[in-house]
């Protein structure tokens, strides 16, 4: 069995959900899209991965999943697994407990696959009102996300801001493996140079400068 805590302390939203899930009747599944892995990250494999995580967190495998597995053995060739079949199995789990689904880098998914996946996620939240979906991705897919998932979508713009960049650089400098090479002057120069570049890297902006934008 895979526990929610197996995800470890390594991310913001997932950590928060894990902390609370330990105490309550909550399920969670996560997925990271990666352009380099676009061929294997098909809708069936992606949705199957989410389902696999939810099933792993249960005491036993639901009858609907066992039956589907046995039925596919009769199919000649392939896994006999389809999106529609996965969604049916989803319904047997997400309707019984509060479920969080987190998906990263949706923009790195092949557009044809993304259409199917967004429609599938839309169907999941429609059929299970206790299911919540957390998505990240580049801004250019915002309209597509809103169109496919409807009025229930809230959007937040993530931007790097100076105070967060400073905090990030300080943390990295603290972990410097060659401290004998570092001086306060060099440290100041590094900080100044990076901030001058106005880099759009590293970290999200602070709460105080949050620019939120909701669709509803």
């Amino acid at each position: 069995m895979v526990l929610l805590t197996d995800w470890g302390d390594s991310s913001l939203v997932i950590d928060r959900l894990c902390d609370e899930a330990v105490e309550g009747d909550t399920a969670m599944a996560c997925f990271y899209f990666d352009f380099a892995a676009r061929n294997e990250q098909s809708p069936v494999n992606m949705l199957g991965s989410l389902l696999r995580q939810l099933v792993s967190g249960l005491e036993g495998i639901p009858e609907a999943v066992v039956q589907s597995f046995r039925n596919q053995k009769k199919v000649i060739g392939g896994r006999g697994l389809q999106v529609s079949g996965i969604l049916k199995m989803f319904g047997t789990i997400t309707t019984t407990k509060r479920t969080f689904i987190c998906v990263d880098a949706l923009d790195e998914c092949v557009p044809e696959h993304r259409r199917v996946i967004l429609e599938s996620l839309g169907q999941i939240v429609q059929e299970s009102l206790d299911t919540r979906i957390f998505l990240t991705g580049r801004s250019h897919i915002r309209c597509e996300v809103e169109r496919k998932l409807g009025r229930g979508v809230t959007c937040i713009l993530i931007e790097p801001k100076e105070d967060a960049i400073i905090e990030y650089i300080r943390e990295k400098l603290r972990n410097n493996t060659t401290p004998e090479m570092m001086s306060s002057r060099l440290e100041a120069n590094i900080m100044e140079s990076i901030l001058e570049i106005g880099s759009e890297t590293c970290v999200p902006r602070s709460r105080a400068e949050l620019h939120q934008d909701t669709s509803d």
């Binding site: 390594s10 997925f31 792993s56 987190c102 979906i133 580049r138 801004s139 996300v145």
Partner: protein
Amino acid sequence: MVNRKALDYDTFSPAFQQFPEIALTDPELTTTLFPTTFTAVKIEKMLQALSNNQNSFNIGYTVNYITPDDESKILAWLSPLEPRVRHRDIGAHRVDSIGGWLLETQEFRRWHNGNRGDEANHSTLFCHGNPGAGKSYIM
């Protein structure tokens, strides 16, 4: 639902009494027929024996027993992908204190705490931005 924790002697004793041959095929099982509690291993062995003899004895009901090996096969069948690898990779480069503001926003709380009674049902939260803005570290 196949829940091994819920299995006990009372559930299966009628079948064992009706077909003692099932237990007699295994000396270890014979000694475990009468105690009212069994270890998980013994219960699994008895279930396996029942399952193996199900057709020949026609015991009248289905024992839907899933072995650990079956479980692994079913999970692998659902998907060959392993997202935890990417998760660990991202976590190794994240700075703990950064991004906490998101959890305090009204949008996050509304998404997180919302329920089916929520009129707008804020079921989806989409964090978007440019490449390198830190979206993956927030998740």
